[in-house]
């Protein structure tokens, strides 16, 4: 280690050091940019490939070449083959594409929400479920099912689930706020307390409901992309894409929250405002995904961790890479859910938990070995 070099000019604002004293930049800007473009580009390509395969596979198989051809024809380009099966075109555009689009949107929304949540809490174990988005949405959805509410037609469940998620999150936030500040631990514990109440409410609703309602609640909670339609995609898309856009704008400041609340304030972050804004975005993103697809666990927890392994903790890259990675993951998971067992549509929430749980355990063990664990 070299001794501290007394600065020839102590004001940090003025230069005048010899070239030898100056440390070589550890990572040049060009390489960082290349890494970013490489990762995001790679994930983008992976998403397109996954979408092409996901749309092609199913009870009626359409080869990926024909899937691409069909899309290009719709875009007005007469390239590539059209689906050879007489029902191919219809299947693709009325069943598969909306489903793949929904999977991609939900995955992107959930993973982005997870990345934001971990950033805003400065805690790698946080996920949107912590502040009650999912459980609030579940209670609202179950109420609709049990009480047979139909004020918004077939969309009543989705509508109420969205509002339920949003309201619960805001409730947790308001309850944990004291003297104009929120402490992270208080927020998490308030979330746990409220989650206990909502799960009691959910149990009561299942007790109230008849067999059919119970079944409906259970399957809603398991999560499924079955029966996704373009109209639903049309509702989720602006919420998800808008949320991701705001998330990208918030990303640079989230890095500073890693310093802790006080130190973040010292470098000029209005911590309370940033946290409030981020939590609203998280609630909107998660509620949008959950409302039509049910509860799909672990995407928000695992994807940001995977991205951090590859790209480091900087949120400028973490947020967009998580969005793309989440989309890829859910498109692939949905493909698996549809095709793993012939003529059966497995609940996707079950699959993500089945894979996500052990994977997360492995991540924990690995982090303990390499970086002394997460304090």
């Amino acid at each position: 280690m070299t001794a501290v070099l007394p600065a020839t000019d102590p004001t940090p604002g003025t230069g005048g050091r010899s070239g030898a004293d100056r440390p070589a930049p550890t990572r040049s800007g060009a390489r960082v940019l290349a890494g970013r473009v490489g990762l995001l580009g790679g994930l983008g390509v992976a998403l397109l490939v996954a979408a092409a395969f996901g749309a092609g596979h199913g009870q009626l198989d359409v080869p990926p070449g024909e899937v691409v051809g069909s899309v290009l024809h719709r875009l007005g380009l007469d390239w590539g083959p059209l689906p050879s099966h007489p029902q191919g075109e219809n299947t693709l555009w009325q069943v598969r594409f909306p489903r793949v689009a929904m999977a991609a949107l939900a995955g992107a929304a959930l993973a982005t929400a997870g990345a934001l949540m971990q950033g805003v809490f400065g805690n790698p174990l946080a996920e949107p479920g912590v502040v009650g988005v999912s459980s609030g949405a579940a209670v609202a959805a179950a109420s609709v099912i049990v009480l047979d509410l139909t004020f918004a037609g077939t969309w009543t469940v989705a509508c109420c689930a969205f509002l339920g998620g949003l309201v619960t999150t805001i409730l947790v936030y308001v309850l944990s706020r004291d003297g104009g500040r929120t402490e992270v631990v208080t927020l998490v514990l308030t979330g746990i307390a409220l989650n206990a109440v909502t799960s009691a409410g959910l149990a009561f609703l299942m007790f109230l409901g008849d067999t059919q309602a119970r079944e409906e609640i259970v399957f809603w909670q398991l999560g499924s992309l079955n029966g996704s339609r373009w109209e639903q995609v049309g509702v989720v898309a602006p919420l998800a894409l808008g949320g991701i856009l705001v998330a990208l704008l918030l990303a640079p400041r989230l890095d500073l929250l890693a310093l802790g609340d006080r130190a973040a304030r010292h470098v000029g972050v209005d911590v309370e405002r940033l946290r409030m804004g981020t939590i609203v975005v998280v609630a909107v993103l998660t509620a949008a995904a959950v409302s039509f697809c049910g509860i799909i666990a672990f995407v928000g927890l695992v994807v940001p961790h995977l991205v951090r392994l590859v790209a480091g903790p900087g949120h400028r890259l973490l947020v967009p890479a998580s969005a793309l990675g989440g989309a890829v993951l859910l498109v692939v998971a949905d493909l698996w859910a549809r095709t793993a067992i012939a003529y059966a549509d497995l609940p996707i929430g079950m699959l993500t938990s089945l894979v996500g749980g052990p994977f997360f355990f492995w991540l924990l063990r690995r982090a303990r070995r390499t970086a002394g664990g997460w304090a």
Binding site: V4, P12, G372
Partner: protein, 271 residues
């Protein structure tokens, strides 16, 4: 006190937490070009006072002005351009690299003309805090002293005219203790103002322009090291006999020990 503009001016500051009086009637001024050491026994209110001066804690009584403006009126971001703070404990939630952590100090200057200097200021700050060789290391894997030096580099990178540090030397070895305070003093000579909480009174004597002794939430003494750091006063404040001796032109503060020094190493056989 001279009529020069004050960087920080606190008047009648009081802090009461759940009925406990932590600070009462504290008046402190810090001028540009001045390094003020805050000293005092445990629980005297040093950290609380620093928190009040930094704008973290709203005092229950009194006012604080930073650069002539009431502290509470200055927006968070503007405040970060005026003062930088190094806390006693450094923590980081994610594995950022040292260089990234130092660069976080530049964030108050984001989207200002000063942003163009970012790379140079970050490199210089890392050199001055002696963390250049650690640039690529992950912050959570560093030792306590290395983390403290990284935080010091971040403080320097913020390039604020007022610097506040809470026990910056606590985790450092002798070389880096001296080096840090030397860098700090040079920064102050160039026109900054600094408030440093120190436990090591000899360090305070050697580097501070003024020493403010806090005891039981009040200012017990405030003046040049030679005026303030005297045996009788320190003995009274710390409740332990303290001697102040001169060594090579510097004041050295040593506790008086009642037990006899261990003259020769005595080895005891383990039964």
């Amino acid at each position: 006190m001279s009529g020069a503009a004050t960087a920080i001016s606190a008047r009648g500051v009081g802090v009461t937490v759940e009925g406990h009086r932590i600070l009462e009637g504290v008046d402190v001024d810090v001028h540009p070009g001045e390094l003020l050491a805050l000293v005092g026994p445990n629980g005297a209110g040093k950290s609380t006072l620093l928190g009040v001066l930094a704008g973290d804690t709203t005092p229950s009584a009194g006012t604080v002005e930073l650069d002539g403006r009431p502290l509470r009126r200055v927006p968070t971001r503007e405040l970060a351009q005026l003062r930088a703070v190094q806390l006693q404990k450094q923590g980081l939630a994610f594995g950022f690299r040292v260089e990234d952590v130092v660069r976080m100090g530049r964030s108050p200057w984001h989207r200002t003309p000063a942003e163009d200097d970012d790379d140079r200021v970050v490199a210089e700050s890392m050199t001055r805090a002696d963390v250049t060789t650690l640039a690529g290391r992950l912050f959570p894997t560093l030792s306590g002293g290395e983390q403290a030096r990284t935080s010091f580099a971040r403080l320097l990178a913020q390039a604020a005219p007022v610097l506040m540090l809470n026990e910056p030397t606590a985790a450092l070895d002798i070389k880096h203790q001296e080096a840090l305070l030397d860098v700090l003093r040079r920064t102050v000579r160039a026109g900054s103002a600094a408030v440093v909480v120190l436990h090591d009174l000899s360090l305070a004597a050697a580097y501070a322009d003024r020493v403010c002794v806090l005891a039981d939430g009040r200012v017990r003494a405030d003046g040049s090291p030679a005026e303030v750091l005297t045996g009788p006063l320190l003995t009274e404040v710390y409740g332990h006999p303290v001697d102040v001796v001169e060594h090579a032109g510097h004041l050295v503060v040593v506790p008086v020990r009642s037990h006899a020094p261990a003259a020769s190493p005595t080895l005891q056989e383990v039964p």
